[in-house]
């Protein structure tokens, strides 16, 4: 066996139709089709799919996958790897570092013959009471998402958004506030932020998020009193003045008709742009995102100053342009199969 005299990053990781592939280690990171060996950064369904042979991920991510796909989601077996530990796969060292995106989310750090590549998966830099905070890792190549890779996306402080929600609840005591929030991560973060802001009343939740809420609680995230948002035992008026958390799709659904004159709220980074809120008929946009905004993306690249930046998915062209202006070599991988919308 012989290796090139100088190792190039693409010798260690390269985009393939199935996802990012590591030839020496013979594994994929967040593959979009079934493979023998997968390293999974986090539990969102576009990154964590069922049907792989062996799955390496944090214990939390493995638990989320088991909850979503059933205990037999990995054909051969699971390989839990806690934050900060490392494992060697065919001579390639792999470790997982917190990404700050959702519970269990990790950056995959891949080291081989002195070369370090960090695949950040989806990430954010700010504090999130439901998951470990992003840790910057020096590297030769930083692989970044660019979901909010446009200078218009600058998420405000989440406490301010929660305050706006609570103010609205006080102003409209006869109406129910339904917060559309993605079932994994966003929902629990919104609930936790409400608790931190002092809202201790029962929060009603859509049936689709009950199991994930329980899983978060098992992992130490205290969500306070929750109850299913059903009207079987009471009347619609019971929800007046209350807060209900539901998947975004439920806002437009007939499901939401059980609530009195609801105020549709949507917790998403996309809500930064008014036309987006208007388009979805959202009355109270809550700009709360689990992805890095423009400032977090560019600050991260400035802080790490990697030899090269690879951009996986999102608005690559603006971030590429920014790298060009900053003199950081960058290229878009144009990986397909990752949601740019629904995860937010």
């Amino acid at each position: 066996m012989s290796y090139p005299a100088v190792i190039k990053p693409q010798d260690l990781l390269c985009p393939k139709p199935g996802g990012l592939y590591c030839p020496p280690g013979d594994f994929y990171i967040d593959p979009v089709r079934p493979v023998d060996r997968a390293v999974i950064t986090h539990g969102h369904s576009d990154h964590a799919r069922a049907g792989h042979g062996t799955v390496l991920a944090t214990p939390q991510t493995l638990a989320i996958m088991a909850e979503r796909y059933g205990e037999d989601f990995a054909v051969v077996g699971r390989q839990p790897l806690a934050y900060g530990e490392s494992v060697t796969i065919n001579g390639v060292e792999v470790s997982l570092v917190p990404a700050g995106h959702v519970l269990g989310s990790a950056q995959a750090v891949v080291r081989w013959k002195g070369m370090t590549i960090v695949v950040s998966g989806d990430y954010k830099r700010r504090r999130d009471p439901t998951c470990a905070r992003f840790e910057p890792t020096p590297c030769d190549v930083f692989v970044t998402e660019a979901t909010f890779g446009l200078p218009v996306f600058r998420h405000p402080d989440d406490a301010g958004e929660i305050a706006a929600l609570l103010k609205s609840v006080a102003q409209f005591p006869d109406r129910a506030h339904i917060v559309g929030a993605y079932a994994l991560g966003k929902a629990q973060r919104v609930i936790r932020l409400l608790r931190e802001a002092g809202w201790d009343r029962t929060i009603h939740v859509h049936g689709a998020m009950e199991r994930l809420n329980r899983l978060y609680e098992v992992h130490g995230v205290d969500l306070g009193p929750l109850a299913p948002a059903t009207t079987e035992r009471g009347k619609a008026g019971d929800f007046a003045g209350g807060i209900i958390v539901a998947p975004p799709s439920a806002l437009a659904d007939r499901w939401s008709r059980r609530f009195p004159d609801p105020v549709d709220c949507f917790a998403s980074g996309w809500m930064r742009v008014r036309a987006r809120a208007r388009q979805r008929g959202v009355e109270l946009p809550l700009i709360i995102s689990d992805h890095a905004d423009w400032d977090e993306l560019t600050d991260t690249l400035s802080e790490l100053r990697p030899g090269e930046v690879w951009i996986t998915h999102g608005r690559e062209e603006a971030l590429e342009r920014w790298c060009e202006l900053e003199g950081i070599p960058a290229r878009a991988l144009r990986l397909v199969g990752y949601d740019e919308e629904d995860g937010e």
């Binding site: 218009v152 437009a252 609801p262 036309a275 009355e283 109270l284």
Partner: protein, 535 residues
């Protein structure tokens, strides 16, 4: 500035009138003077600045960031003020956030060159919502779906007074309205409404219920006149002050200098603003050319000369006539109009009648000329005093039966608030032959009321079951010669329109019946509508 920014932000996405009132009232209750007063002025359109222009904003932002990144951002957001508010690269070390009153007072007092520096400093100090509010305020036109009437209603709610009392003092008070709030909060007397040229709250008519009311009413008690299809105005000329107001007290003097010039009298007239050609009334469409403009040029005024058809007199010289019975006011009005030397003001004639049947026949078959394009008839009790608001009994409006057309549902959009999970806004179309002779639907209007809650549920289900395509909140619904849902649509009038593909635009369309029984191919043709065109 922060509270004002949040108010605008909420209002811009709130559809329900009551919810808007709640938001504005809560704002007025919690924000101190003079900030709340300036906010009220902004909402009622009483502020304008010419120190700042959008072109400067764009230059300022491009001086601070990469032009390509800005271009992509603008392309994505689609609105210049919002884009700048979002991307603005603030310089560190900014001053504290300005209050709304500081911004308004400074903008009024500074030159254009100074203003630019000030604005950049404010943009540095504010957050994205604050920047958006500042830019909206500067460039005029908040466009948050709040009429000045609604803002005044919120003031009325705040003070627990009838809105008429606010309208009456409105033109005697100035931003930031410290005296208004002092009165509304019970800290002082009502500001004096005695400023010359002030607005007097108008008297409105109830719609008559033919089945119930006529049996109870004696025709001898009522005068009848045509209901003109223009806009209700109040023309005031008092001690040198000339003003033209809408029926809600909005001052539209600047839009109608030709009418203002004709107010060569001492008094206050109540009448209909119309476009008149050689004494004849033009269609509402012609009047629309003149409405909602801040300024007006000679060409437009010559093409669409405006005038007033007077039907009441509130003030004759210095004498307030509002307490007199209509019969006496009418005599005074006739004498008043006869003394005028302008052709821009004429008298709305009374229609003598003996019985309700005779009047019904007149309404059904009006004589050729102006009455043919009237909206119907007005009935006024001879003994009625001029009472602000919409009292029960003295005045009735008896509108002509609406036009009806059968159209096919084409698109449905989700509603707001209570209706946010329902497809409740409907675009409908009628048949037209295209170049190849195929019959295709062409959209002719949009309606979102006229049906019961139960019917809404049924239509909503129909929309969900027969969706062909989805675009954001809009669904296109199956509608072809073989299948589709037919609505009987009622509307008040029809005008030519270059903005609509069909070439026609309906006034006040609503769903009058849902024709579950009617095959879509039997809906009306565009040619049927074209024959109904006004004028």
């Amino acid at each position: 500035m922060r509270a004002f920014a949040h108010l605008l932000d909420r209002l811009s996405l709130t559809a329900s009138r009551n919810a808007k009132l709640t938001l504005i009232e809560a704002f007025l209750r919690s924000v101190p003077d003079p900030d709340r007063g300036y906010a009220l002025a902004a909402l009622t359109g009483a502020l304008s600045f010419d120190a700042a222009k959008p072109a400067f904003i764009r230059k300022a932002v491009e001086a601070r960031m990469d032009a390509q990144l800005f271009a992509w951002s603008y392309d994505y957001v689609g609105d210049l003020a919002e884009t700048v508010a979002l991307v603005w690269p603030a310089r560190p070390g900014a001053n504290r956030e300005p209050e709304l009153s500081e911004v308004v007072e400074a903008l009024k007092a500074t030159s254009r060159a100074q203003a630019q520096q000030l604005i950049e400093g404010w943009l540095d100090a504010l957050d994205a919502d604050g920047r958006w509010a500042l830019l909206k305020l500067m460039t005029g036109g908040l466009r948050v779906g709040v009429s000045s009437r609604l803002a005044k209603q919120a003031c009325a709610n705040l003070g627990g007074v009838p809105i008429g009392e606010i309208e009456e003092v409105w033109h005697a008070i100035e931003p930031p309205y410290g005296d208004l709030f002092a009165w509304l909060e019970g800290r002082s007397d009502r500001p004096s409404p005695d400023a010359p040229g002030r607005f007097r709250p108008v008297m409105l008519a109830q719609a008559i219920d033919e089945a119930v009311d006529f049996a109870k009413l004696d025709p001898a008690d009522y005068a009848a006149e045509w209901k003109w299809d223009g806009i209700r105005v109040q023309a005031v000329s008092e001690r040198g002050e000339r003003r033209l107001y809408t029926r809600t007290g909005d001052d539209i003097s600047a839009t109608f200098p030709d009418v203002l010039e004709a107010l060569d009298f001492e008094g206050a007239l109540d009448g209909e603003l119309l476009v008149m050609h050689g004494g004849g009334v033009a269609s509402f469409g012609d009047l629309q050319q003149r409405l909602n403009r801040k300024t007006v040029d000679g060409k437009l005024m010559a093409a669409h000369p405006a005038g007033i058809r007077a039907y009441d007199l509130l003030l004759d010289g210095e004498e307030d006539l509002r307490g007199l019975p209509f019969a006496q006011r009418r005599k005074r009005l006739e004498a008043f109009v006869a003394r005028l030397s302008t052709s821009r003001i004429d008298l709305s004639p009374l229609q003598p009648f003996e019985t309700w049947e005779a009047l019904a026949a007149l309404r059904a078959d009006p004589p050729i000329g102006d009455p043919a394009i009237a909206e119907g008839l007005m009935l006024k009790r001879w003994d009625s005093a001029y009472e602000p608001g919409r009292p029960k009994g003295p005045w009735f409006k008896w509108k002509r039966d609406p036009h009806l057309v059968d159209a096919v549902l084409m698109y449905a959009q989700r509603g707001h608030g209570k209706r946010s999970s329902f497809y409740s806004d409907y675009t409908f179309g009628v048949w037209r032959e295209d170049e190849t002779g195929d019959r295709k639907l062409t959209p002719v209007g949009k309606a979102y009321f006229g049906f019961t809650d139960e019917e809404l549920k049924q239509i909503d289900k129909f929309v969900r079951d027969h969706t062909v395509e989805r675009f954001g909140p809009v669904r296109s619904v199956r509608a072809d010669l073989e299948f589709g849902l037919v609505f009987e649509v009622a509307f008040e009038g029809l005008q030519r329109s270059t903005r609509h593909k069909s070439g026609v635009a309906m006034r006040f369309p609503r769903i009058s019946r849902i024709r579950w029984d009617k095959p879509s191919r039997e809906a009306d043709e565009l040619s049927t509508l074209e024959r109904m065109l006004d004028g």
